[in-house]
Symmetry: D3
Subunit: 243 residues, 6 copies
């Protein structure tokens, strides 16, 4: 059950990742009152802004400014109130020990029940793979009281879910959890439309949502599912029943 006692932390490597891959699910958590914190690690200026760089005389500052306005609009579209942009350089994103501690601190501050970030494999995106390991390792360190950070006591181990990569089948992606987003798909569309220059991705993730809806129906026998998003789960599901 999602309610105001649910803490969700999302870590997105580049500014639009959380939109294409998780906006419907995030919107659902917000709609149901969860405390949602979104960390965007980079603007994706080097690796995910091809369209912007096609303009004559484009500058890094300008690319970042545009990406910032897009990500803020998209976050707003799905109702995210707590957005942080850490402005790491991308392609390749470097994970230093200092950045590791910054993430441990964030996790201890948010105390998430659930972390949503990149899964372990992504054929064309070395940053996504680096972030997957970064966030998982930080979640492990966050639970250890030998890793001292003044004012930030340890957190409980969070459940960790991974976004579906862009090209699932060549990234060994197997959907472990499929979340119905029929109720929030409209919001996801709104968020996707904040990235005006990437029409082809808006179409692409529209098809994906419908394909995943089809899979959701077939696996569950529930015909009310229309749109869905798929994720990996990093650790076994632990609980009181067979779900």
């Amino acid at each position: 059950m999602i309610d105001q006692n649910t803490n969700l932390l999302i870590v997105s490597a580049h500014s639009a990742d959380f939109v294409w891959r998780g906006a419907g699910t995030i919107a659902k958590y917000i709609k149901n009152g969860a405390n949602v914190h979104l960390v965007v690690l980079s603007f994706g200026a080097r690796g995910e802004s091809n369209a912007l760089w096609k303009e004559e005389g484009q500058t890094l500052e300008n690319v970042k400014a545009i990406r910032r306005s897009e990500v803020e609009a998209a976050a707003e579209a799905i109702g995210v109130k707590n957005l942080e942009i850490w402005d790491f350089e991308d392609y390749h994103m470097q994970i230093t020990e200092e950045r590791m501690m910054q993430m441990v601190k964030k996790i201890r501050e948010v105390k998430p029940h659930i972390i949503l970030t990149h899964g372990p494999h992504d054929a064309f995106n070395p940053d996504h793979e680096a972030v997957s390991k970064y966030v998982f390792d930080a979640s492990v360190l966050s639970t250890s009281n030998g890793v001292k950070i003044e004012g930030y006591p340890t957190a409980k181990q969070a459940k960790i879910f991974g976004f579906e990569p862009h090209q699932s089948e060549i990234s060994n992606f197997t959907p472990e959890v499929i979340v119905d987003i029929t109720d929030t798909y409209e919001l996801k569309e709104k968020a996707m439309n904040c990235f005006a220059a990437q029409t082809h991705l808006i179409e692409y993730y529209g098809w994906k949502a419908k394909l995943r809806g089809n899979h959701a129906r077939r696996c569950s026998g529930n015909n009310e599912y229309k749109y869905a998003e798929a994720f990996t789960r990093r650790l076994p599901l632990v609980g009181g029943e067979l779900v």
Copy 2:
């Protein structure tokens, strides 16, 4: 949530499999009011009755009679009301088309939301692997209205979970769902004790329950878990949130 609207079908290849591997979980479903149906496919007379056959002059009838009384006592110990024993021969269990239809019929009759049976790999037990495929295929056929059985309309696709095999690590077993059985472990112990001749297995599955309890605590941060059972899930989890 488990309640009186939850239908659970268990398919156990031999008479004691459901006890060692799932009695705590099954007891939990019964305790919470679920409709539980247990199908035991064989007495395990050939492959899983070593202790009984050590007695001089032992006969097949006698082995079956003893195994019947044990399985009935164990089922009663955890509160199972609907027990069927299909008395297939074991080692090797043969899955004919007729038996396939018998299982399809059972599934359509019970209309299970959840089926609990053997997982796909079991290093030392070819019967378990055959039953895993048998039940999955029957669940698929049960949803197809071209597979006609007079009086038995199609069922919805059930969720399917697999028991942990005896020697998990040499059977490629990865726990996907770990169910806390702290509340019903006492009942599981009672059920295990119905198999008097197999003291070493009672001990063995006691350790397993505690090991799985340790894993449940580590993966969830919830320290109230003492005993647990682990399962595989055959299809992706489909639902309304990240669980």
Copy 3:
């Protein structure tokens, strides 16, 4: 290069499989003059005719008759001249030694350079997995001159490609060959439309073709690819260059 010296044999477990999964590619071979032989093993009357069975008073004969007219229309739409329907019963399809020899004979008759059939894994479809093994084993036997069939001398080992399953990601599907079908997609649409009762599949495989087109562009850098179909390859590619 595809030309009149190319022999292609397609083996489809049920009557529509070759359409959803390969019609664009098959149409391309026909358009380029290849000798194309299509074997449809069953009408899919039990497992893949849900819509038809919903009609009151439906009979097996009628279902088969409708399926026959659909498959003939679809084959014609893409230009297939050599169509055989073997009318095996489906769900579960039984592969006897006699049927094995029937396939060996067919392979020796057609002498295919390429066989297109089902790949090894298909999460919800045991028939597809059985046919995958059936055709591969037959292709091996077809090359052995100790497997005597009067009048049918041995064939060379064919290259074997597998269709993409319906739910790729839960079937461990990895695309090994992606074929551009931009030129023949219109024909594929025509063939799909012969299966009037299955509108949802027509939509579904439309999205797939576009997703695969996206992947084709990303993997190759060639932006002219709009629609594509993906396949597995059973054996290593052997040839004169790095392709």
Copy 4:
């Protein structure tokens, strides 16, 4: 088809890797007029010059000088005109961001249709695994116009192939592409003979070429294949037919 419009870039971690694992294929590309660029990252002075270091009083300078003359002779033997030796230290080769940009630049300069380098696994050779990731990541960066290098506009995504490791079977190597080198095997032998101190490797790769020739015959039915080399392919094959 290989011709003067084909650009091939080879990246070899140590000075002899391209010879043992790819000289026959490279020679074929050269023979057919392709533009072939060979980058040798290191002399392999630390990890792959055992024989040379056995001499009393051996020095690093001398080892490098000998290795240089060997690699130049071997490159000449198969007709390579564009050879660069980057003289990284080996065992362990360090991949810095600066070196990453150096490779991106090279790729943008050569605009390869095909890159031939080390595959992802090599049981005994950590350098080979590092180079595999190095070159793949650089190929991804080379296509992104946010990764600016003055004077070097983006390249198209190259096809990437991986050398067979020294001990294939303990390195999870599965041949995906097997290239017939019957016509150029003589040149490969000549190139191998430039490494005088490593007679046992010359023998070893002779047997390999014949084993791969046997596999090529069996998989294709083409009995003219005598010698072959095997490779992995990093991305799905995309094209106009089933190859």
Copy 5:
């Protein structure tokens, strides 16, 4: 340690399999006094006698007679005294329950410490895969005293090793045990030469033995290994030390 208390059972699907893949190892056991029993399941008349069937007017009886003389000669060459030929039909070999019991009986009679037979995967050889499962299942049944065979009490669980398949790398073969056969390679050559019509295989397995010798040296640092054979192990090694 191999001595007269070591019982070794070899199960070869076709008449020459044990020669190409294990003759050096078997010879070593015989040389050291072990009790060696060889069961050849079929003459391989359909699937592995291509050369013989090329002769005009060839008959099944004649093929079997030639194969019998070859296998007897090869067995003699390496010193096998206990040879049984069960004359199953090959391609495809059918494993009935009766044949299962025949194998259980054999195992209980020989009481092998070690069984050497086919491994689980063999890309081009469905018989080898069937025999692998056949022998493993029989070994499990042989230990169960509920599987009654008058006069044949249960055996202990044997260690089970699998032959290297013909094309290792496309059969997911990973060598788990590499046996030095330098001392008995000459006998293996003699045995191989009993199959006069298959010169290309004699060469092929000569290269393999040398490649495996190379691997044995590299993995162990022992330079006295010249020839070797590789095998899979079915169950974990259990013993008193780290070997």
Copy 6:
């Protein structure tokens, strides 16, 4: 055979790892006269000292002092004479080139026939995975005479075994070697009891030892095995027989 000519090097990431996972086996080597060298890389002060840090006013110096006394006591309990503590910082342990050379030197000094350290996967422990690669790479470098260290000539390639991780089943652990520790289990218990604050781990590894004993009996048919430890093997077993 273990005797005074056997050199065993153990590398333990944190101070207690070698105890929980290998003390029974190490004790056995010592008991049989082997030369045993133990390197403990860190005190595990950050990641594996949760209980100690719960005390008010705890300091890093004090934690290290306690861990030192525990590890020395545990080493003494099983008879280790050569103990070195390298005092790396843990969580995350950094492997620099300098540390790589330190390990190469150690290996060349000890000349181990066997190295026992962490296996490649450990779901919750990034340090263990880093150490696994660290030690393996060092073992490879140690054999190369181009990697010069004054006074330390090359070593032979050691056999490398990996500890069982804490949560085997979610770390893809497959036991490849199971060592009977029935004779030394008492010493292992003594060593475990040196870690007073971690009672739950003492219990946990007691159950594990019994579970592994059960597996040892089932896989071997030898009923004298009571307690065991399981390991992975990094390279194929090479030797003179089928073990």
